[in-house]
């Protein structure tokens, strides 16, 4: 008779063994009736446990369905700006929890609320604030090849930037000029979210952190919606098939005012290719709306653009 421990046999029954190990046990089972009998008993135990837990779940479902009013199904909303989705994750979590409590409200009124103090455990599991590495990994996921394929010197040419953004996001995308609001365009880059291009346009004022305008393809037309996440405020809206998110360390009124200004900006450019990359990157013959503005382009154009502010 072969000696195989219950540890090994339980792992075998639970499917925890490597394929090679499982094949080895199979060979033993074919030759040793006692071991095979033990495996059958363990399989039976495994199956009985699964059935028992299913029976408990059936009881819970039946009880909750019988004693609580039907919870409204979540309304299917059109897919929005991915950045907004990230920003409201915490809010969604709260709403889900609230829905759970609301759907389970029947014990709330029956028993005194005795909320225990937080429990300090020696090992906090997944509940710690995210480390810098985790935050960076999330940011890294936004990077794509397009993020670095354009050299920084190309940022001096507003037209080239506008052309690339229009090609990636759509001809209606805005690359606003906000120098009248004290914000200088610094640079733009293409990120990605959920496999789709995501434009990031960065502006810098006299003080505070940069202000960022994000743009991504997204249907519909919705009004501006303000949210705050810590020190970062944001306004999101959709316009002409583009979803925008304006984010920065600004107050609500400032962000809403900027969003309104951006909404009335003309589209960045038509998706027509610049004449020659070498000419365009030098800034000698800019053709876009920001061509005449050295504050924006960083260039020194000789011919003022009629569409400049």
């Amino acid at each position: 008779m072969t000696e195989l421990s219950d540890e090994l046999l339980v792992a075998y029954v639970d499917g925890q063994l490597a394929p090679e190990q499982a094949r080895g046990v199979d060979k033993v089972l074919a030759q040793d009736g006692v071991i095979a009998q033990r495996v059958e008993a363990l399989k039976l135990a495994h199956g009985r446990l699964e059935c028992a837990f299913e029976a408990i779940l059936a009881g819970e479902v039946g009880e909750i369905m019988a004693t609580t009013p039907t919870m409204p199904l979540p309304v299917a909303r059109p897919r929005g700006n991915g950045l907004v989705k990230i920003g409201v994750a915490t809010v969604v979590t709260g709403l889900v929890l609230f829905a759970l409590v609301a759907g389970y409200g029947w014990p709330l009124g029956q028993q005194p609320a005795a909320v225990a103090p937080p429990v300090p455990l020696s090992k906090r599991v997944e509940m710690e604030p995210p480390s810098w590495q985790e935050e960076v990994l999330r940011a890294q996921a936004l990077l794509s090849r397009a993020s670095v394929e354009v050299g920084l010197e190309s940022q001096d040419n507003f037209d080239l930037v506008a052309f690339q953004l229009a090609q990636a996001i759509g001809p209606a995308v805005k690359l606003p000029k906000l120098q009248a609001q004290g914000l200088k365009f610094m640079r733009a880059q293409l990120l990605r979210f959920d496999g789709k291009p995501l434009a990031q346009m960065l502006y810098l004022g006299a003080e505070r952190a940069p202000l960022a305008l994000y743009a991504m393809r997204g249907g519909g037309k919705t009004g501006p919606l303000f949210r705050r996440e810590g020190a970062i405020g944001s306004v999101s809206w959709k316009d002409d098939g583009i979803a925008y998110l304006l984010a920065g360390e600004e107050d609500e009124a400032t962000l809403l005012r900027l969003a309104e200004k951006i909404k009335h900006e003309p589209a960045a450019t038509e998706p027509a290719p610049p004449r020659k990359l070498s000419d365009v990157s030098s800034g000698a013959e800019s053709i876009g709306p920001g061509a005449a503005d050295p504050m924006i382009t960083g260039s020194n154009p000789t011919v003022p653009s009629p569409s400049a502010d």
Partner: protein, 170 residues
């Protein structure tokens, strides 16, 4: 997800009324401390962890945990709802009812929820090896009982099946 959370609380406590109260307190605490939720963490894992933490914390805060009233066999059997086609599995129900709560919860998370050992260990603040040891002890014991089902009803002697190994876990 609510029935799954309720099942976890009930199995942990061993009866419906206290399980319901535990879940209610846990949900309220999660709602109050929702800022501790880390984006990207599966919500069910977080909820199971919070329920277990609350239960363990209250157990530790109890003046004399050993003198707490244990649920009866009848209390535990009321957790089950068996279909008309399937007979009530009294042996398995009794077996589960006499297991320590941590071991019962381990079985639920792995065999009922389909968690792997790492995820179950995170919820129950235990190592994967501990989870594995609990599964082995429970399955081996139940298999023994199923093999000799005519014998006496289940009892907590399951914890002494492997005295030499002394895994040190309930």
């Amino acid at each position: 997800m609510l029935p799954r959370l309720k099942r976890f609380a009930d199995v942990l406590v061993g009866e419906k009324r206290e399980g319901k109260a535990l879940l209610r307190r846990a949900l309220k605490r999660m709602l109050a401390d929702q800022q501790r939720y880390q984006w990207g963490t599966p919500l069910d894992r977080w909820a199971f962890t919070e329920i277990y933490r609350l239960w363990l914390g209250e157990l530790r805060d109890h003046a004399d945990p050993l003198r707490q009233v244990k649920p009866t066999d009848a209390d535990f059997e009321r957790l089950f709802r068996w279909d008309e086609d399937s007979n009530f599995d009294a042996l398995t129900a009794s077996f589960l009812g006499h297991l320590p709560p941590q071991q019962r919860s381990t079985l639920l998370l792995v065999y009922g929820e389909g968690f792997d050992h790492e995820d179950a260990g995170r919820v129950l603040d235990s190592s994967p090896d501990t989870i594995q040891a609990r599964l082995i002890r429970a399955c081996a014991s139940l298999a023994d009982r199923l093999g000799s089902s005519a014998q006496a009803p289940a009892s907590p002697t399951i914890e002494t099946l492997y005295p030499a190994k002394a895994t040190g876990q309930p």
